[in-house]
Amino acid sequence: MKSKTLVILKHEFKKIAATKTFVVTTILGPFLLAAMMFLPALTSVDSTDRSGESINMGMYVSNPDNAYVKANADALQSVFAQMGWNMHVDTNLEPIHQKAMNGDLEGYVSIESDKVSYYSENTGDIYVTSVIENVVSEIQIAQRLTERGLDVQEVKSLMTPYKLPIFKISAESGEATESDGMTDYLVALLVPMCFAMMIYMSVLLYGQMIGRSVVTEKTSKIVDVLLSSVKPSQLMIGKIFGVGLAGLLQYGIWILFAAVGLQIAVIGFDFVIPVQLSIINFVYLGIFFILGYLLFASCYAAMGSASEDEQHMAQLSTPFILFLIAPIILMTGMIQNPNSLMSTIFSLFPLTSPMSMLAIATTGQAPLWKILLSIGLLIAAIILVIHLASKIFKTGILMTGKNFKFKEILRWL
C-alpha cells in the first residue's frame, strides 16, 4: 500500500516538473528576482538625476542691474550650464510663461529683486527644484555672512562635518576592518528579506498548486476513481510530497545558480561575499522552506478538499495567507530588533516562524537554542496539522454542492 503513495507522488511531481512553466520559472526565477530587487533601485537613481539631459530651462530676470538678481542669475546659469541644460533668458515674463505653458520649456526661474521662485507644470520634479534651491540658498547664506563681515570660505571649512570611521569585527578572527556602514546595513537587511520573500512566494505558489490540484480532481470527479484505488490519506500525502519534491528541485537549481553566480562575482569582480550568504544560512533556507511548505501545503490540501471551486478555495485559505503576509510587513522591525517580544513570538509561532525565524537566523543574531526550538515547534505543528488536514480531506473530498464556511469545516475534525 505504501507504494501507491509513491505512484501518486511521482505523478504529481511529473505533472508539475515536466511542464514548460516549471522550466521557465526555474530558469528565469533568479533573474526575475534579481531584476525585481535591483531595477527599482537603478531606475529610481536614474530617474531623479537629470543632469546631462537636454532640459529647456527658462529664466525670467526682472531687473538685471539689481545686485541680488544678478548674483542669483549668474550662479544659476553656471550651474545649469554644468548640467548641460539649455537656457532661455528673458526680461519679459509673458513670452517665457507662454513657452512654459506650451511645454517648450520644462519650467522657468523667476528672479525678482527680493525673491527667486520656480514655475513649472511639473512641480513634482524634486531634482530640478532642489538644484535651484541649493544654489539660491548658498547665495543667501554667503550674502548674510558677508553682511556680518565673515569670510565665506573660512566658515565653510569650519563647518565641515565629522565622518565617523566604522570597523567591523570578524566573528572568526577577531580582526577589525574598516567598512561602509550603509552597505552593511543594506546587505544585512537585503539577504534576510530576500530569503523570506523566497519562502513566501514558493509556499504560496506550491500551496495553491496543491489546493488547485485537489479542487480539480474533486470537480472533475476523478476523485471517485482515485479513492476506489487509494486511501484519502495516501492521496493527500502523495500530493503534498510530490509537489514538494518539485519545489525542492526548483530550490536546488536556484541555490546552484546562486552559488555559481557568487563564485563568478568573487573571481571576476573581486566581490566580497556578505557574511549573510554563508552555507549555514542556505541550510536554514532549505530547512525552513521544507517545514513551511509542509505546514501550508497540508492546510491548502484540506481547504482544497472542502472547496467547490477555486474561488471558494481562495476564500477559505485567506486566513492562512494573512499569516504569510504579516511577517513580510513586520520584517524590517524584526531584523533590526531580533530579541523584541514581537520577534520572539513571530519566530516561534509555527504559522509565522518559517519566514520570521529564517530572517532572524540569517542575520546571525538568533541563539542556536531558539532556532532549534522554532524548528521543533514547527515539526510538532506539522504533525498535528497533517493529522487534522487528512480528517478534513477525507470528509471534504466527497462533499459536493455546498460552499462550506470555515467554521463548518472545523466541525468535521
Binding site: M1, K4, D224, V225, L227, S228, V230, K231
Partner: protein
Amino acid sequence: MLSLKGVTKKYGDFCAVDKLDFDAPAGQIVGLIGPNGAGKSTTIRMIMNILECDEGEILLDGKKFTADDSNIIGYLPEERGLYKKQKVVDVLVYLAELKGCTKQDALPKIDYWLKRFDLMEWKDKKIDSLSKGMAQKIQFVSTIIHDPQILFLDEPFSGLDPVSADELLSIMNELKQSGRILLFSTHVMEQAEKICDQIIMLNHGKKILDGSMQKIRAQYGKNTITIDYSGDASSISDLPVVESVQHSGHTCSVVLKNGSSVDELFTSLTPLITQGKFSLRSIKVDEPSLHSIFVKLAGHDYEEKKEGV
C-alpha cells in the same frame, strides 16, 4: 461472490442505506436500479471502500472485503472525469499503477483495449482533444486495464454510439463468462432488462426487489391479462375474480384480484363464451416491463422526480 450483509450508512439522522443485503455471484451481471437518491451511489461507494459502512459487512467469498482489496475492483463512476491536460496513455498508466500494475504490464494491455475500441491513434493525444464518447471509452478501458475481479459500471452506455455500445456489451459478456462479478447501474430499464441476470432495486435506502428477471416477471406479471374478442364482453367486469377491466375497441385489459389465478379467470370465462355473448380471439398474460414494475414500486416518488427533470 460479493455479499452485502445488513449494510447501513447514515448521514446524521438521514439513513442513506438501511440494512441492505444482497449477493452478487461470479459470472453474472447484477443490475442495481432505483430512483435518484435511493442510495445507489452510497452503496457503490461503500463497496468501493470510499465510504465506510456504519453497520453490517461486505464479504468477498466469505472474507471481509477491505481497502487492501482495492486492486481487484474496477469502477466506472456515473460522473466521468479524467485528467484533461494529460495524454491518454499517461492517464491509463497512472490509473493502472494505482491499481498495483507496473507500467510494463499495463502498456500491452492498454494497446489491446485501445485497439478494440479503435482508439489507437489517440494514444498520445491529450484527453481534452477527445470527444465525449471517446473519453467515455478511455474511462471504461481504465476500469478494466488491471483485470479486476469485481467491476462496477455506472451508466456505462450513456453517450456511446451504437457500434461502441455493442462492443462494450460484448466485452461485458466476455467478462461475465470468465467469471467476473459485474455490477451494473442504469436508469434505462430496457437496458437493465436485456443485460442483467439479476436485478436489485433500491428505494429510500431499502431493497424492494431482488431476483432474476424471470422471477420478477413471475412475481409481478400474473394479474394483467389482455383479451381480444368479438361480440359484447362487458360482462367480464362482473366476474368475481376480476378487479377491473379496461376496454378499447375489441380488446380489453383485465386486472385480476389479488390471489386469483389465470386459470380461474379462464374457467369463469368459458360459460360466458358458451352462452354466446362473445367469442374469444386471443388471450395473453402480460409480461410486465421492468419499467412498469419500477414505476409501480418506486411509486409517485419516481414520477415526481421524472417530471422535475
